[in-house]
Amino acid sequence: MVEEFRLDTEPTRDSDRRAELMLGALVCLVVVLLLGMFAFVLYQAWPSFSHNGLSWFGSRGNVDSQIQAIFNSGTSLGHEVYAFHGWPLIWGTALVVGGAVTIAFVCSLFVAVFIVEFAPDALCRVLEPVVRLLASVPSVIYGLVGVFVLVPLIGNHLITQGSKASVQGIITLNGYSLLAGVAILTVMVAPVMVAIFSDGLRAVPRGWIEASLGLGINKWRTVWKIGVRTARPAIVAGTVLATARALGEAVMLSMVCGVVSFAPNPADGWIFFVEPTRPLASTIIAFIDDLSTPPMRHTLYAIAAVLLLSAALLSFGGWAAKQPMKRYGART
């Protein structure tokens, strides 16, 4: 008789387990696909690395002509050429991304502090949605601003005839330059950083700010020593995100940096800033149509692999930077 009253729990547990397995399988599938993708990119990149060894990262000769040679060797039926020395590309990327992120970091920190603590209310209310809008604007639009405003500005006002003459034969200085790239990348990356930094600053418990003020520390020092210090994890996260976006920026930089894979030379003095360059991602875009030949493909995938590894290193660096902050903090 007891059996009549037994609640039938079996189907319930079954359907739950089924759901869990299905979802788990979905997650597994996604993970396997994505990891497989990374592995595949590295696999396709390997021939280029194996042919060049460490000199892949070195500097020997003109990158553009090397790429041309690689492409030509692929189309003709002869011996395949893989010789590639990508230092100018790496140097260009480092300069553009490093310069933009550094300038944007300093400016964004001050701007975020301003917005959260010192700006008048009306200005705050207008500024917040504007910052979020700017952070989500497609990068081509920033590229457009760069091409229409910055490049002519630099070309016409910052480059003199003398400097053009001094590098004639090697490169042409016409405004498509390192400076334009750094400037427009800074403008693109700054709103992202400002948004994340100000979120982090706003999350600082009010009690700590009040405690510091109540001890007779002025507001600037309070915000800096307590607020910014507490928001350090958010600052690290924002910087990592911004750098990742800057690294991957292909189209916009190809619009403003020029069409030559040149490594700007600091020894050139002021001309250094207006020399053209081509970061890694833009190089891929520039030669994407020639993907069909195997040596080209391996070379381009090798460049992509370098980008991928930099992004991974960046992520890891961000994680490592957050570790010491956990000791004294309430949360990360």
């Binding site: 979905l26 595949f40 990119v41 010192f118 007779g216 600037w220 990592v240 875009i285």
Partner: protein
Amino acid sequence: MSLLELPVSQPGPRAPRAAQSPPWRLIDRIGLAVAWLLGLLFCALAGALVLYFLVQGIKYVRPSLFLTNPSPGFTATATGGFLDPMLGTMLVSAIAMAIALPIGIGVAVWLSEYGRPAALARVAESTIEMIAGTPSIVLALFGILLFESPALGFLSRSSEGVVFGRSFFAAGAMLSLVALPLVVSNVREGLEAIPDHVREASYALGKTKFATTRRVLLPAARPSVLTGAMLGAGRVIGDTAIIVVLLGATLTFDRSGSVPLLSTLRGTGSTLTYYVFYNAPTGEGNQPTKAYAAAFVLLMIVLALNVGVDIATRRSRRLRWSS
């Protein structure tokens, strides 16, 4: 020491303070001044950018642009409008979100509600984060690998046994990877914000975990789902690298085959972002007026999405869970 034995002392004048800095030191004042300066400069820059595009857009946007297709030519009138690119933008984001939303919600639900074995959860989280940090050009290259393989040849045009590999399917699929991390993180945040007593109440009524998730949790997390979807859509709409590589770079729809919708999806085309890129001085078309007009339309779309995200987050803030 007993309080009874405390020495009695008379409150006296205080000892003079040690040398102290003034409450506002010079460096503090400088810092504050720099913050104000940079803040106002940022406002000015933001205002200038917005105004620049507003002005240029209004100057060059015409209704005819929305209705005509791009055509080869050299003058502004001959090159037509951006009807197909605009439709292309919507089509490609629809495909991308149609893939990213269900998968993203599924992954987020698994991570937040199940999450066993823990190793798989950690790996899944790290992978999603890696995708978030991967440059879209790398995703585009992988897309080429994937869609040029004969196995997936049906998703794009092929001729003489060589799979072209570039189509709306291809671009949409890779763009879904761009949107996926945003969907996952937002939905997960929304689900984790729901306090446990809601779940316990549902289990106490005899509902399975799956039914609880479907009927109680996901509807409650709807603002987060919307936010994730809109943020994802925003990034999808704004991406150019994947479009340039995987969409075949034909300005108008170039259908492949004869089945109505499928032929468009298998064919190539362009989006507004590609149209802007094409018409910039560095692109092949070089029609600045068209570029400005298309950029303006893009900005309006992004603005609308942002307003949508704002409304969704405001609604989610109203749903305050009392604990």
